[in-house]
């Protein structure tokens, strides 16, 4: 499997996917979409990966859609943006959110447009101190897609979500942490190592249990209190049947370090 616009590998349970069109600030064209889709399919189906680390090459993280790839010249037929969202962005966001393992996003530089919202579909977002998030959509007459309008108010509250989406201002990585948009901000030089350290740790953890945690936290955003209690009962029932739970308990009783298999 050879890719032109991404780097992809799975090693010791850590799947690494790096966007690799640095000259275009890793903006998405059709081929990059296809390659990312292919790589994520492998992550889901190979059974080898227990964590996904998503990052990008060069100075930027992702500038969203490559506008050169969309024909919007004056007089040309209007492209159906809904179509490209249905075909590429929505499946990508759903896959990242539903992947049954932790997804880490290391934002190495500017994240704009869809590129600012893709990290928000991941579970743990680390950013380089020089990175920034820009909801650039409003500046070209569009709305934040890739679940931006869903994630932003839930993460930073409606007031800040509106300011970000309506003004399209640059939000620094540090401010993003302060607002609760992302998890951590580290020095640029440390980002790669920190993200990998986190990924390697998670790759040794009870992956199935972590996937159920992810699922229950996601569901809580839509559920009532009672529905969530019921879901917790159901998912705990599943977690309790896992091999890792047995291992966790027996390691605890024997005062040794557990060896989790992820199932």
């Amino acid at each position: 499997m050879t890719f032109e616009h991404i780097l992809f590998s799975i090693e010791d349970g850590v799947a690494r996917l790096s966007l690799n069109r640095p000259e275009q600030l890793n903006s998405f064209n059709t081929q990059m979409h296809e390659e990312v889709r292919q790589a994520l399919k492998t992550v889901r189906q190979s059974g080898e990966a227990r964590v996904l680390l998503l990052t990008a090459e060069g100075r930027g993280f992702c500038a969203g859609q490559d506008l050169g790839d969309r024909n919007v010249a004056p007089g040309a037929a209007v492209p159906d943006l809904g179509e490209s969202i249905e075909r590429f962005y929505n499946p990508l966001i759903r896959t990242l959110r539903e992947l049954p393992m932790p997804v880490i996003c290391a934002v190495n530089g500017v994240a704009a447009g869809a590129g600012a919202n893709i990290p928000l579909a991941c579970d743990l977002v680390l950013a380089a101190r020089s990175a920034s998030f820009i909801q650039a959509f409003c500046k070209i007459g569009l709305i934040p897609d890739s679940a931006g309008t869903w994630a932003l108010p839930r993460l930073v509250g409606m007031a800040r979500a509106k300011a970000l989406a309506l003004l399209g201002d640059r939000l620094s990585a540090e401010q993003a942490v302060e607002w609760g948009l992302i998890y951590r901000c580290v020095d640029d030089a440390d980002l790669r190592d920190e993200a990998l350290k986190l990924a390697r740790h998670l790759a040794t953890q009870p992956t199935y249990g972590l996937a159920l945690i992810k699922r229950s936290l996601h569901a809580s955003l839509d559920n009532t209190f009672e529905q969530q209690l019921t879901l917790e009962r159901d998912l705990q029932r599943l977690a309790g049947r896992s091999e890792d739970y047995r291992e966790g308990v027996s390691a605890f009783m024997a005062k040794r370090t557990p060896v989790f298999k992820g199932c």
Binding site: L231, D234, L235, R237, L238
Partner: protein, 256 residues
């Protein structure tokens, strides 16, 4: 032994699993016949008080058997033996609970709607895609669906052929609970066993009364309800139920 079903007993509950994995549990005439036979057997077996019906993780049932259907012309359809099997399934008098995972499409959706209670896995899909084949639902899809989800959604599903998600099905009232797919059957069995502990005659009449509500005008339905209610006054289980409640102990029903 049925070829297209697996049948297991869990105390007073019978679990029937559709088993034609190669065809996503498409409802062949053989399968329908075996299912109707099995339900009739359960109907007559006093030790069975409720039935759970399920398919596979991927598909409850993905529709009718198209190869079979293609072979039948108009006269063939008029003499279709399947109608009799459907009627026997409809006539099942004990509680029937469907545990639906994956696809419940066409005849599969219609079969699920024959159940009294529907429990769905999170990724279940319900739909009547017959229109895509130039035909229409033929086993209650236009009737039970409308009663379950209302006119607008029923029309949309039947005329467009597009399926709905488990969540949408629950919002619309087609299913009563959603669970993780791994627990759908377990939850259905729990509900079935809860029901199996109640007085069988009361359960049977209550089910009948609820089904009447779909067919009769209110006055007739109320009359049926009152008659059924009165009938239960003559049963031993009713005396046991009331006495157990007064004595603050669990009731022991024997179906008399």
């Amino acid at each position: 032994m049925p070829q297209t079903l697996a049948v297991q007993s869990h105390q007073a509950v019978c679990l029937i699993t559709l088993q034609r994995p190669q065809a996503l549990n498409a409802l062949s005439t053989e399968l329908l016949a075996e299912l109707a036979n099995e339900l009739e057997r359960c109907n007559h077996d006093d030790t069975i008080r409720a039935v759970v019906l399920t398919g596979s993780r991927k598909a409850f049932a993905a529709g009718a058997d198209l190869n079979e259907m293609a072979e039948r012309d108009l006269v063939g359809m008029l003499n279709d033996p399947r109608q009799a099997h459907w009627q026997r399934i409809t006539g099942f008098a004990k509680p029937l609970i469907a545990a639906v995972n994956g696809y419940a499409l066409g005849g599969g959706c219609e079969l699920a709607m024959h159940a009294d209670i529907l429990i769905a896995g999170e990724d279940a899909q319900f739909g009547q895609p017959e229109i895509n084949l130039g035909i229409m639902p033929g086993a209650g899809g236009t009737q039970r669906l409308l009663r379950a989800v209302g006119k607008s959604l029923a029309m949309q599903m039947v005329l467009s052929g597009e399926p709905i998600s488990a969540r949408r099905a629950m919002e619309a009232g087609l299913v009563s609970e959603i669970t993780p797919p791994e627990l759908t059957v377990e939850r259905a069995l729990q509900i079935a066993s809860t029901i199996a502990n109640k007085a069988p005659l009361a359960v049977r009449l209550a089910k009948e009364a609820l089904l009447k509500a779909q067919d009769l005008d209110l006055a007739s339905g109320l009359r049926f309800e009152r008659n059924a209610f009165t009938l239960l006054a003559g049963t031993a289980d009713r005396n046991e139920g009331i006495r157990a409640f007064q004595e603050k102990r669990p009731a022991r029903f024997n179906g008399q």
